[in-house]
Subunit: 318 residues, 6 copies
């Protein structure tokens, strides 16, 4: 089975792919005819595809995010590769293929990421902080296995959020050793909690966010996490006015640093300052790494990256 | 007893005043001598005052926010009136004077303001919204009788917050009648809740804010109120994910309209839009009215007003 | 006759509609054929339509903003309804239909709006202010019956400007009673004059603005109205330097509040502050109300609204 | 008579100077004694001065902006020169000194500047443009002889406005010859009219602005000039809607280029673009030239200049 | 041979044109057929063109920026003129046509512009400044004959950069005579050096920039020129810390005035201030002049101009 | 000898201190008398001091940044400690005290910092990059032993710059191991070069910056370092257009990320993105750590910190 990023012009191939996008369109003929405007993907990349002469049954059969077996030919259309689909059918259990093999995903297995996050959570010394972090993490336990960290901004793939958290924990661990005046419990808690409400802010499937939830739009993940901390403290019988609760809410509320970036308060504890800059460092470098990874080796420039002042990244030849 | 704003140059007078500010300073003599640099006020205004030849006992006796009886003379110093204090003593219970008679205050009695607010609260039809509003209002019930709405920005005086709420309720009532598509329950609830955490965000005495509380700095009144709504819903057994809880939190979180003004989300319900603009209309007009009230009739311009693009207001002569 | 918003897929219908937009396009056939790409509307909404096989005579017959009788079929094209026009002809006087029945319009009849505005104008006590307001209003008397308040921003429909003025007068009346320090003459005059030059700033037909006038682009409605006040004072023999003329010009010039929003000076009288916030309150709430009205009841979110930080409005289910 | 900028430490001198500023202050002695805190100036510069042991009569005699004869000694106080006044009296007509000899002033005589401006005005070919320019210039004819162009920003001295206009006319003349597509009538008219209302916007004496006028604050010189053009057209019987009137108002209204700099519309004619950039070039270079002129030759850096991004200017040694 | 801007609907013509843009597209037929989507231009303007039924050989023959002989017909397509190409062939040396006759170009011959620039360079009195300017200019000597000053912003045509420099030298010369405190050597040097690295920042052919160079993206023309001055000083044996080298680098580095416009330092010498405003005046007026020149005389408004706050320019009818 | 931060009210003491600031002021007596307004410091902190009855000889003897032996008494003045100096003399070589013992300094010895930096430099694998880094570092070798990283912003003390570089190298080392796609040579080079010109941008003594150098103002440390790289490449015979030179200049030029923060280009290589965020993380955390270190343990809030959105940092009590 040929990977998407190995298909070349005029190749004829058969293989399984994920129907990432599917639109029914019409030709300009009179009368117009329906055809499928499709995006096929696997874990190596994606290509546009056309399936002409669509039947009424086809329109009831194929939907986005389904696995299909495709017999196709690769053509060049306006200087870009495009697949002309000759035959297509839905995959069946007998095919033995799994959707998760066809999507973009964090480079580390979700179970390992979750394990690393749990390890960090367990190592929190303060029992009240640990209790609050555990309560909040439990709310999204299942989703943390596969949710992305954002719609497109950064870590926008399967298990991207857990990957972001796990890597930030590594940096946090290093910085706490380099600067012992930082409280490691708050650093760990802040890293785990800062985006913990994102799985409820967004609606995602297989690491791809389709839209924001109602709560995501009206409240936002920052205030949602702050409310969860309030709920956690009440459920666990922890004083709502304690420095621990205050400190955790402050970490979450201030981690975007500025009002125009969504934080109603600015960082005012050492750990809140550290959290914001660790978050930036990891998110920005991941944007760069992902852009370079998905740009063919033959290109010296990546596409423009929104989160990096809309600049492209150049591959220095050294 | 002469009111502050009726004292004229060379007047000699005896009366009770509030020691609003008091600093111990030293003359440039060798050796330097201590004197008091004082601000005396009553409900009509305030004047600077000097008390020379302060004794060690005086320094243990007089403190800001205390009532004093003063025998003084009014002098002109650098084109401004200033009081030279000849004699001063603390007021005693026998004097029969009360601090609240000497401070700037909303033009309506606190009990009447609280009554109006309670009336509005009682008229909320939806029992869950009413329960949440009541729970949050109960948290600051006592403070609502006397807290200002802000440190200096607007309604910065005794019972200023209750006055702000009561007047907004009047506007809200009018707008709901003019535009029946608005939900009056949410409008009332939004008006009562939008600044409800301010008494815990600031530390105030007699309507004068001395500083922000720790919680006020690290969380801010907007997120505090959002957390209170979470707490209220839990305590009252109301579903945290219901449109009611979401709608109330959204009203509170969005009422500053923009991220740079402190709102983590922007208004996205009809009532949230209404709340922000009713709040602006009342706050800005109160700034104007208060500035005109405290500017002598003989002046055509008020001092500059921060909340109005730092502009002064001109009294048109018509 | 079926209203636009009641047409369903596969309906065949005959009725009168307004040709809101009409473009002649060409198919991709060789040789290409002309067809009409049309938007049909009535007061309930609008739908796209196609008329294939256009003749040379058709191209001389049909133009935007004309009434037509259509025999059509409703089809689904890319998940949206679209009309396929079978037959079309221009309406004739005998049809007894009037363009104004087919356009979006303020919910109150223009004559009633104008009556309300005239009532307010008549109630201005100061004769000089009344004279200036009358002079300026007379300049656009006819256009005030039907002009919108803006191209798209708010009140963008037939008689939208008069509706905006009439509603602001209601709010102004309430606020003047709530805050007696405001001068009702200036409030009324400011509300009537603030957008009075808009009918000369824009070129509109049936409430739809096609473009800005030359004067609108080079001078803008704010400075135009200021110049009209100068003209009015000269024509009526009123002193150009009087506080009345100054006060009225200041109201007009400052009502956008900030330089970046088009006001060369910022509000510096009580009435100018009031005017800006009454204007905001009415315009923003109208944007919300209109967006909700034109969004099908089955949708919980309106489209995004430019004037509201580009946010959509959610219909709370309570 | 020694010029201010030639006085050195320990000099004893007698001469005539302008009392630019005078404050009555009090010593810290008990009882405090009055003294004068003074700024003496002549056309070469200014120095602070102290006059101790002020009598009641002195306080009735000396006022700012008056000429005085001073017998003084130069002292060093905190590393800066300061005059200790031994004797002081007001100048009398017999002294034969004139205030205008003691103030900072444009380097060209006002009559010559006015002559140059009138020449330019006379050379306007279009009779309607000439009539409007003449009408507006006549309104401030007397003040144009001595008004500054701004309070502090640029050309802030005697006849500074006329100097600014005259120099811009030179640049305008050059640019019209370099780029013949520009209309010289509009360029001349725009240059003369752009700041023509400044003498009514500010209250100045001897080139020193004390404050803004009421009209200056509520209307601003840009809209005032626009209103004057309206008035001129009416008085001269010129059509208010003609391209000439529109073009002139557009020049005036747009010459600050951006809304946040006070222009309600942005330049949209060739001459309006030229006017803004000619204005900038002249104003900015004059700021630099004036700063260098008033900085002692021994200093390599001028003070910081507000209008130049708050930067100081360095004197390159070449 | 008919000029592009004289072609009218239904004209049939034969002539030489430049193939400014060429895309191979496909029709919607089944199977799709290739056609050329073309832009033809000459020095008078440009028009879109279609060439149907493209052969495989054609695709190997025609490329952008080549001269062709065309037999075509002018048609109206969606209210705009479009050429239908009947026959097309590449021009040959025998045709005696030259690409430079078909492109937009500065109104003065490159050799004359270069001559004027060299004259200015020769007139620099200071030998070290002259040496540095000469060294840097020599780096781009050949490209200065034809490079534009920018991709689209201003002077975006053949020899546009040299034209910009030459005209600025004229203004600089005038301003130095008007304000003798300016150093003419620095003014000339600043004008010649300020954009001297642009030919290495951009990749252009025939005055049309296709993209930025790697160095242009990573370093930018401002820092490139600064580095060239360093290199020049080293090569010519001039002290790197001298006021001359500092002064020249400062001119180059500060000429965009603000950090957000690309200047790492703000102007802090008289000549640097002058350079920025001379640059603005020339660039902005050229944008206006070019927009008016390329807008048909029958249109009163030019298209919107990015560099002028995105405003269009109106042709006043006087 | 008592450390500054251990002095308490009424203590009488003798010891060596650094005269950090010294102003000659005058009393208000008639005639006024000179006195010294002084700031005394040691490595533990600083206190204001007064020395009355200064003689003419004293004024010739004492200057800022000199070591003195003081006999003094601690007094309370306006609620703050202040030293009254009874006797004072300059320290002599016999006293055996060294200025460097009395100043604020990085917590690691300069020689160790320099050693760490040199180690990193030596470990650069690419010989050309190593040569350029070495050349630039050699320019400031001596100053790197003691220069601060900024005037007040961060690391503003003895050897602060070397400390900043050394700590960033630690973070850079960690990040390169965590993300192997980063080139360690460029990361090391970027960290060492990014602020390498600061010792020539500022004039500092003992870690205290008194002002910016001429070159610092006119060129800025970012462009200075870029020029040094050009110089280094020329001196070492490295191709100015190589990716190595380009890559190093890009690192330096882009490390402030945005134009308004002083970077003429934005980061466009992976290492440039990493450099900016490593720089931010280290600088911001050092601001926090230094603020906490110099705030008495009894205070829960530090003073406001400019570089952290002007916020103070709270010491959480956990």
């Amino acid at each position: 089975m040929t990977l998407i990023n190995q298909l070349r012009e005029k190749d004829e191939f058969v293989g399984f792919y994920l129907l990432k996008e599917l639109d029914v369109k019409q030709t300009n003929a009179t009368p117009p005819k329906d055809y499928f405007d499709i995006v096929l993907c696997d874990s190596s990349g994606q290509l546009p595809a056309k399936y002409w002469d669509v039947s009424a049954a086809d329109k009831e059969t194929f939907f986005p995010m389904g696995l299909v077996k495709v017999h196709g030919v690769v053509q060049l259309y306006r200087e870009r590769l495009q697949i002309r689909i000759m035959r297509i059918r839905k995959s069946t259990p007998e095919d033995g293929v799994s959707v998760t093999d066809f999507i973009r995903s964090a480079p580390i297995r979700p179970v390992d990421l979750i394990y690393a996050i749990k390890q960090a959570m367990d190592s929190i010394a303060d029992p009240e902080i640990k209790a609050i972090v555990s309560f909040c993490a439990a709310k999204v336990e299942e989703k943390l296995m596969h949710y992305p960290a954002a719609k497109t901004h950064h870590h926008a793939y399967f298990a991207g959020l857990a990957y972001h958290i796990a890597r930030m924990l590594e940096i946090g661990d290093f910085i706490c050793r380099q600067r012992p005046f930082l409280n490691p419990d708050f650093i760990k808690a802040g890293i785990i909690l800062h985006d913990i409400a994102k799985p409820e802010e967004m609606i995602a499937q297989l690491g791809i966010v389709s839209e924001y939830s109602l709560e995501g739009k009206l409240i936002g993940h920052i205030s949602m996490a702050s409310n969860w901390i309030t709920e956690a403290a009440i459920r666990c019988g922890i004083d709502l006015d304690s420095d621990r609760v205050l400190g955790l809410q402050h970490l979450v509320l201030s981690h975007h640093n500025l009002g125009e970036w969504g934080s109603p308060v600015q960082p005012q504890t050492a750990e809140a300052v550290a959290l914001h800059y660790i978050d930036s460092l990891d998110a920005k470098l991941q944007m760069v790494e992902d852009a370079l990874d998905t740009t063919p080796d033959t290109e010296t420039w990546t596409p423009m990256i929104r989160g990096l002042e809309n600049k492209a990244i150049y591959r220095l030849s050294i």
